[in-house]
Symmetry: C2
Subunit: 129 residues, 2 copies
């Protein structure tokens, strides 16, 4: 059983390769920009500078067949069920990221930090409450 997930925008970031990415969001993730597609513009009309947002990305390079994994660079660690990890390789590769809005201009939202690669699709945005 499935439905389609539709991209609402895309990330513009200085992170161009997986090896550039911090292993945890807290480790110096750079600022980034969300380019929201014009057909979703009404949906971001109340987002303002200073808002704290939860950004949901779609980690499109993920291996969606993985059910057990071990941490990157820890070859001897034990295999762990994927739903006890934050690994991007999972059946539905939804990434979840918290960031603050630095500025918003038309369909471009500048964020304080984002640990995803340039070109990653965005699928949802929710306010932190």
């Amino acid at each position: 059983m499935n439905q389609s997930i539709n991209y609402i925008g895309v990330v513009r970031s200085s992170l161009k390769n997986l090896k550039d990415c911090p292993r945890q969001e807290s480790e110096n993730a750079p600022e980034a920009t969300l380019d929201i597609f014009p057909e979703f513009k009404q949906g971001i009309s109340d987002i303002e500078k200073g808002d704290e947002l939860i950004i949901f990305s779609w980690l499109h390079h993920a291996d969606r067949t993985v059910l057990k994994t071990k941490p990157r660079n820890e070859e001897h660690a034990k295999l762990t069920g994927i739903f006890s990890t934050r690994s991007p390789d999972r059946p539905n590769p939804i990434g979840m990221h918290v960031a603050k809005v630095i500025s918003i201009d038309d369909c471009r939202i500048r964020l304080s930090q984002l640990d995803v690669l340039d070109g990653t699709p965005i699928v949802d945005i929710k306010p932190v409450i």
Copy 2:
């Protein structure tokens, strides 16, 4: 641009109708059970009693065309861009819920609270970190 999202399980809950649902998760959401589909069983093998989880549901009754909304039961409120709200009606109706594991038995995970309707599909589970 889109990809398919695959259901990994389904919610079993005493909440059978939208009018039974609390308006905010914190308002007395009842215990609930996740029935994980057998093909994803390996993925939950490290989930244990007491774990705090983030459950991602797919709110399949949502209206995916909505870009502006007002709070339920507040007819005179102003219309707000959907990405500044937690409304289930949104382009990709991903629900996000935090709960504690009460017990786990094979593919059934009993949770401390969940504010979604019986029969709602589950699409991801992540640990709270």
